[in-house]
């Protein structure tokens, strides 16, 4: 039998359609990444070498920065997911004034991170607005009375775990609406009868959320959390605004610090090495999330 020849010449094939995008990625993405990798693996005098890699792993702040970054990313994603889900479920009930409440909630989203940094930088000083609120509302007095605090809290004196948690709270304040809005969109697309059926067939409200709502909107949740964890790994600006450079190290904070405050080739290469490490970390996390998403959608497309 004759084979039917359907092959077209390359310039007529569908690949031609993706070619412009491919060229774009080669020039503006693959190119810079390649030159960055090359930068890391060449020594100061130009030959191939691992010395920057050794320099990275020998850096005293590397492990603390990695630990802080992961701790920050994981705690903030868990906290933000739970809060955003609760708020989205709350707003989705469409009570009177829910749209105004939604508007109020969105305000922090409109504030640039640097401004957020300033707000909390001034807010968290000993006599800043945050402590004023605590004192005016009587919360300070209450905390003092039950013995948790003894006078105004010195927020900026926080170190280690406490400092990270403080940054998590500030970050949550800023980005919660953006996570919430994605989950809310998922909830609004959800057929109400799914949860009503659960209520009729014996589930409590909590069980309905856990067994029915969350699993069904899982793809939406994963998307929202993927975006969050990527920017969680890239946290640096609030840390610097609130605690200054080199106090609470983060991976991206290291990139900026070594790049801007040290003027030798070694430190430039070190900051590039940090960049590549962050990039690989982000890609690994994204891959894990996307495969989880595939699993969630399996069998029901």
């Amino acid at each position: 039998m004759d084979k039917i020849k359907t092959r077209k010449p390359f310039w007529k094939s569908p690949y031609m359609l993706v070619l412009p995008a491919l060229i774009f990625y080669l020039i503006f993405w693959a190119g810079p990444v390649f030159s960055a990798v090359k930068e890391v693996f060449t020594s100061v005098d130009g030959g191939f070498s691992f010395e920057t890699i050794f320099f990275l792993f020998e850096d005293d702040k590397f492990l603390p920065a990695l630990g802080n970054t992961l701790l920050f990313a994981i705690v903030s994603i868990v906290l933000q997911f739970l809060l955003a889900l609760a708020l989205a479920l709350f707003i989705n009930r469409n009570f009177k004034g829910s749209s105004f409440f939604l508007f109020l909630m969105m305000i922090p989203m409109a504030i640039p991170i640097a401004a957020v940094g300033i707000i909390w930088d001034t807010g968290l000083t000993e006599s800043g607005w945050f402590n004023s609120i605590l004192s005016v509302t009587g919360i300070q007095w209450f905390l003092d009375t039950i013995g948790i605090t003894d006078g105004a809290i010195l927020w900026k004196g926080a170190t280690g775990f406490k400092a990270i948690m403080l940054l998590v709270l500030i970050d949550t304040w800023t980005v919660l609406p953006s996570v919430m809005i994605i989950i809310l969109a998922g909830l609004q697309n959800l057929n109400k009868e799914y949860s009503e059926a659960a209520l009729v067939f014996g589930a409590t409200r909590f069980q309905t959320v856990k067994h029915i709502i969350v699993p069904i909107i899982k793809p939406t949740i994963i998307t929202a959390l993927l975006l969050r964890i990527i920017s969680g790994v890239q946290v640096w600006l609030i840390a610097v605004m609130v605690f200054d450079f080199d106090t609470v190290p983060f991976l991206v904070e290291r990139i900026v610090y070594y790049n801007k405050f040290f003027y030798t080739d070694e430190y430039f290469k070190l900051s590039v090495a940090y960049s590549i490490f962050v990039m690989m970390l982000v890609m690994t996390i994204a891959t894990i999330f996307l495969s989880a998403n595939k699993k969630a959608e399996r069998g029901r497309t």
Binding site: E193, E196, A197, G202, G299
Partner: protein, 358 residues
């Protein structure tokens, strides 16, 4: 005492919109009740109040003598089939049916036994390991039915369960639902706006309009003795034809007079109509209440012919408006002159109250 009792039930949204104004109904054990009405008549709201998915503004609901309005949906002993089936997409068919049983913490073997049983009844045995997305609409509907009967409820609620199916499947599913109902002897409430569904399924139909009950009765009562003009025009396909007629008492006889025809009424009616002398009332005649032959009293011409196989529906003009007539004279043609007669199955309504006089 009745098994289920809805007493003076009321629902008001946002303090202004009265979705259900007053609803009284008693249901016996094993009855199949259909709530029928146009969209927005309050039938779904009433059902959702029974299910506990909607709060009750006033009145009470009793199942087995116990008030349920303050109970959570899960504690009411009901199960429900939804319009969109609401079969959970992330669970297999087995898990969908077993979910309620798992929440009741039944032992695994017993759950499996029950699921297998209902899967046989609903003919989904070979799909138990599949996900809903791999099933057709009809099969998903069966899963919803299986899930509903697995819990052995005191009361089945069905909210337009057939309206998402295609016409052919809808009719066969209807028969299946009726068979399941008969086999299990369950008490059921079924909401629909489709009168043929209502007529074919119900032991009793509750016809609703604008938040109130228009009539409660068996399918035959509803069809043949509609209590109001609304019921007469809502039930029947095509619906009943209405004529404005004047009552004229001439000695012993009582005549009904329209622009283009006049006739003396049946004996039983004479006494009731005497008090309407000189007044206008409404005459309602179903499309099949007419005769088409050469001796009828209304002369007219056929405008449209719609063959239906076993019978035809013709449109003719009477008194300046088009009416529909069903006849088995299959050879009638457009433009043909005919004479319409009226059998004495017609009904008359009071024009002011729209209630049936006879």
């Amino acid at each position: 005492m009745s098994y289920i009792k809805l007493e003076n039930l009321r629902k008001v949204y946002n303090k202004t919109i009265e979705a259900v104004k007053r609803f009284d109904l008693e249901i016996d054990k094993g009855e199949f009740i259909v709530f029928l009405g146009p969209s927005g008549c309050g039938k779904s709201t009433t059902m959702r109040m029974i299910a506990g998915l909607e709060t009750v503004t006033g009145g009470d609901i009793f199942i087995d003598g116990e008030s349920i309005i303050n109970l959570e949906p899960r504690d009411r002993g009901i199960s429900m089939i939804f319009q969109s089936y609401a079969v959970w997409p992330h669970m297999t068919v087995f898990d969908n049916v077993a979910y309620a049983l798992k929440l009741r913490k039944l032992p695994k073997e017993q759950i499996k036994k029950i699921v297998d049983e209902v899967a046989v009844i609903c003919d989904i045995k070979e799909h138990l390991e599949r996900y809903p997305s791999q099933l057709s609409g009809g099969q998903r509907q069966r899963v919803a039915v299986a899930r509903a009967i697995a819990v052995k409820p005191k009361l089945f609620l069905m909210d337009e369960p057939l309206s998402n199916l295609d016409a052919k499947l809808r009719v066969s599913m209807r028969t299946d639902l009726k068979r399941i109902h008969q086999d299990l002897g369950s008490t059921s409430i079924f909401v629909t706006h489709d009168q043929s569904e209502a007529l074919s399924l119900a032991d009793r139909i509750v016809v609703m309009n604008q938040g109130v009950i228009e009539q409660i009765g068996t399918p035959n009562e509803i069809y043949h003795t509609p209590e109001s003009m609304f019921v007469a025009q809502f039930i029947g396909s095509p619906p009943a034809n209405f004529f404005d007629v004047t009552v004229l008492v001439k000695g012993d006889k009582v005549m009904l007079s329209a622009k283009s025809f006049e006739f003396s009424v049946k004996k039983e009616l004479e006494k009731k109509l005497k008090e309407y002398d000189g007044k206008q009332i409404v005459l309602a005649a179903r499309p099949e209440n007419f005769t088409v032959d050469k001796t009828g009293l209304i002369e007219t011409e056929i405008i449209i012919v719609e063959p239906q196989g076993s019978h035809i529906v013709i449109n003719v003009e009477v008194d300046g408006k088009e009416i529909k007539v069903v006849t088995d004279k299959l050879d009638l043609q457009v433009g043909q002159k005919i004479k319409l007669g009226l059998t004495d199955k017609y009904i008359v309504f009071d024009k002011d109250t729209t209630n049936r006089i006879y």
